[in-house]
Amino acid sequence: MASPTILREHDAKLGLVVSIHVAVVAWLVPGLGHLVLRRWGRALVFFLAVGGLALAGHLMRGELYTSQSRDSFGTLGFLADFAAGIFYFLPRVLGSAGPDLSGAAGSYGTRMIATAGIVNLLGVLDAFGIARGRRS
């Protein structure tokens, strides 16, 4: 029979694995991590906030950075954009007119898409913290 210490270590490892899975689904679909943890309100808020920012950014023809950026600013932009989960792929799936940075709207759009990713990243950390029992 396993000792209580071994069982506690096993539970801790299992808890970490579950938390990582929660973080991955929270990244993939904004709010889904909270939904899994039965935080209905936060799930809805994160989905609407991240989705709204990303959608507004794409509709304002903001620039979506790719992994092939040649400078560090572009790489950071890609990481921020990619953090938005499924919303990063939205223009590829639905099709878009492409970025237009000739006006202010395009610049606003670029920032909104990046902000969507950052907000989702905070959501991932929040969901991970809840799953680990560090946040309520």
């Binding site: 609407l48 507004a56 304002m60 878009s96 709207a105 907000v119």
Partner: protein, 62 residues
């Protein structure tokens, strides 16, 4: 295919502020009442700090 959204600078800033501060309220405050207080207060401050300096600089722009 995604369309195109044509809005003013102020509307773009307002949309940005509303979505960000609703999410921020969820992160930083635990109770619903505290979130309800934090979100509009931060939103108002963001808009004032965004528009206020522009108004202050306007007389010097000509």
């Amino acid at each position: 295919m995604l369309g195109e959204l044509r809005i003013s600078h102020l509307a773009a800033m307002a949309i940005f502020a509303v979505l960000v501060f609703v999410a921020m309220a969820c992160f930083s405050r635990r109770t619903f009442a505290a979130r309800l207080k934090f979100a509009p207060w931060s939103l108002a401050l963001f808009l004032i700090l965004g528009v206020g300096p522009a108004w202050l600089m306007y007389p010097f722009s000509r």
